[in-house]
């Protein structure tokens, strides 16, 4: 598809126009960090800031979503709505949304996710400097968005270079953009090259080859590193809560106090929590924290990686930042397993 260029001064006006038409979400200042929320003006957007607290998956796979309306003699499926346009998504999160698309569409299609996802327009923004010291996106393959967006903006100083991922995105950008020139494409390549060098210098190295991770994990089932890290784990589930590719959930019914109506709600769950695999009789199929840490890591670097052909850790660094005891980094775990595995 064609690429476009947009004057920096035009972008804000265009976004304000989008806001007039539909709900638009973007990263806003949130304490010392940022978080996605609805915006009233383009001026509120934090461009190139630290990673948002929660990933954009929260708009398609809600932290809490009513999935069933419960009334006497009337049980009905519910499906919440999502903002139409999400602006300012980092490449790691664009990749993560793509990965979530795969699992929710697989076999039994989860329309509670897919309906919201289908209606949304994703406008990504390229990262030109690491967003946080914890980010490992270059290492985990998350820095290149691989066309997994409707539109993708890169700041090339004089203007924004806009790559188009879908016809839906193209129709939107035609409103303000003109087709990019060869000089602008060259400038984009130069910006990216400089960026890659910077990321390569600043981000922690992954010692094994990325594509070798499933094999490395497969032979590390009984590695002492799991116990060493597991014994420090608080089982708090923070790593699950912030992860852009965690999608486990629990379900609970809630009734209005008059019992005339209620809802069935699904909400994020976490495989690191103590009772995640515990059945009603009391048997817990993943009782130890080290087993749960291994399971979480394997979901990212082994099972789903093997199944879908790419890492389910996109290197956003949120879990590393959220972890209270500094044990969860998929990159550091992989490095340790790799290092000790070498003769």
């Amino acid at each position: 598809m064609k690429s476009y260029a947009v004057k920096k001064s035009d972008l804000g006006k265009w976004i304000d126009g989008l806001i007039e038409r539909n709900e638009v979400a973007a990263p806003l200042k949130h304490g010392n960090s940022t978080d996605f929320d609805l915006i009233r003006s383009a001026k509120e957007i934090v461009w190139g800031g630290p990673q948002t607290v929660a990933p954009p998956k929260k708009y398609f796979f809600l932290q809490f979503e009513d999935i069933l309306s419960l009334q006497p003699n009337k049980i009905e499926g519910l499906n919440a709505s999502a903002p139409k346009t999400i602006i300012g998504i980092h490449p790691c999160d664009l990749n993560a949304v793509y990965l979530m698309d795969q699992v929710f569409a697989e076999k039994n299609r989860d329309e509670n996710y897919l309906e919201k996802r289908k209606k949304a327009v994703l406008i990504g923004v390229d990262c030109l400097k690491p967003c946080a010291p914890e980010s490992i996106c270059l290492r985990m393959g998350g820095l290149d968005p691989r066309g997994r967006f409707d539109l993708f903006l890169t700041d090339i100083v004089a203007s924004f270079f806009v790559e188009v991922g879908t016809p839906k995105g193209e129709a939107l950008i035609r409103e303000i953009g003109r087709e990019s020139t060869a000089a602008e494409a060259k400038k984009l390549a130069a910006v990216r090259k400089k960026r890659d060098q910077l990321f390569n210098k600043e981000q922690k190295k992954l010692l094994p080859k990325l594509k070798e991770l499933p094999k490395l994990m497969g032979k590390s089932q009984n590695h002492p590193e799991w116990a060493a890290r597991g014994e420090k784990c608080y089982s708090c589930g923070s790593c699950n809560a912030v992860c852009p590719t965690c999608y486990c959930f629990d379900v609970q019914d809630y009734m209005h106090v008059n019992l005339a109506k209620g809802v069935r709600q699904r909400f994020w769950d976490g495989c690191m929590l103590d009772d995640f695999a515990k059945v009603a009789s009391g048997e817990n199929f993943r009782e130890n924290r080290s087993e749960r840490l291994r399971h979480r890591t394997y979901r990212k670097l082994h099972y789903l990686f093997e199944k879908w052909g790419e890492s389910y850790c996109t290197g956003c660094g949120r879990c590393v930042k959220a972890c209270l005891t500094n044990i969860v980094s998929p990159l550091e775990i992989a490095n340790t397993l790799f290092g000790k595995g070498k003769k």
Binding site: I75, N112, G262, F285, H295
Partner: protein
């Protein structure tokens, strides 16, 4: 709107208390829809306002029958609420889910059923299917063990199986009482009592997680090959459709690829048994 998570409305048509802990239910789907299940599959049962729980179907496949049977132990919120139900009450049903047993794997073979405790509930769906088509199978042996005599389920039915003359049935309890005159010992102590032709026998074990390791060891001692041993594994399940993650053991979603597994296929999966 109907979604992946919207249950069918069904009616409780029969409630038969079995023991202090377990109750038998017959459930009828609305508009004479049929469940269309295979033996060993399960359904997600909703008690609206309380929640949803995975429950094994206990009746044999019945293509023309809008009713099916469950037997429920009260252990959690949903099962406790179910126990308060009377005929006419409404529940929600999603499913059937899981792979179930393939009867083709058993046709023409001797079958050794091992039911430990509540394991008899899912296993009954296969036992009934086999007994309903008895001529298609070789020797049928049923080993059924419970902790105490009070815990046996389907007592009359088990007696009827025993008196058919074409089923070799042995029962045992871990701990006897004054009424018990039969075998005492865990279920694996029945294995030496069974006549087994290892070349022809398919063994099917269903019981609590602890049973499998010991049962497999005894069956292997009787020279039954790994690929002739079948089991149904229990896990926590919420969605039944391979999304929520609770039932996962290594790469496998038990709600989709199980709960029925061939031992040869799971013996090297570290989290399985």
């Amino acid at each position: 709107m109907k979604t992946l998570y919207t249950p069918e409305i069904a009616t409780v048509t029969k409630v038969v208390p079995q023991t202090a802990q377990e109750t038998f239910f017959e459930i009828e789907l609305s508009e004479r829809k049929t469940l269309g299940h295979k033996p060993g599959q399960f359904v997600e049962v909703s008690v609206f306002g309380v929640g949803e729980a995975p429950i094994s179907v206990s009746s044999a496949p019945a293509p023309d029958n809008p009713t099916f049977e469950l037997c429920v132990r009260k252990v959690g919120n949903v099962t406790n609420a179910l126990l308060g139900m009377k005929p006419g009450y409404k529940v929600g049903i999603r499913g059937p889910f899981g792979n179930g047993f393939e009867v083709e794997d058993f046709k023409g073979k001797d079958i050794l059923f091992m039911a430990a405790g509540l394991g008899v509930v899912p296993l009954r769906s296969l036992i009934l299917e086999v007994l309903n088509n008895r001529k298609n199978y070789g020797k049928v042996t049923i080993l059924y063990g419970c902790k105490t005599p009070k815990e046996f389920l389907f007592k009359e039915e088990v007696k009827a199986w025993e008196s058919r003359g074409d089923v070799d049935l042995h029962t045992t309890v871990d701990l006897g009482d004054e009424t018990w005159t039969g075998n005492v010992g865990v279920i694996t102590t029945l294995i030496p009592k069974a006549e087994i032709d290892p070349a022809k026998t398919q063994a099917v074990i269903v019981g609590p997680p602890i049973v499998y390791r010991f049962a497999v060891k005894e069956l292997k001692a009787r020279r039954i090959p790994d690929e002739n041993i079948w089991m149904s594994l229990e896990r926590k399940m919420k969605c039944g459709v391979g999304k929520c993650g609770h039932c996962q053991m290594n790469q496998i979603y038990v709600c989709q690829d199980g709960p029925v597994f061939n031992y040869a296929k799971v013996k090297d999966i570290p989290e399985a048994i």
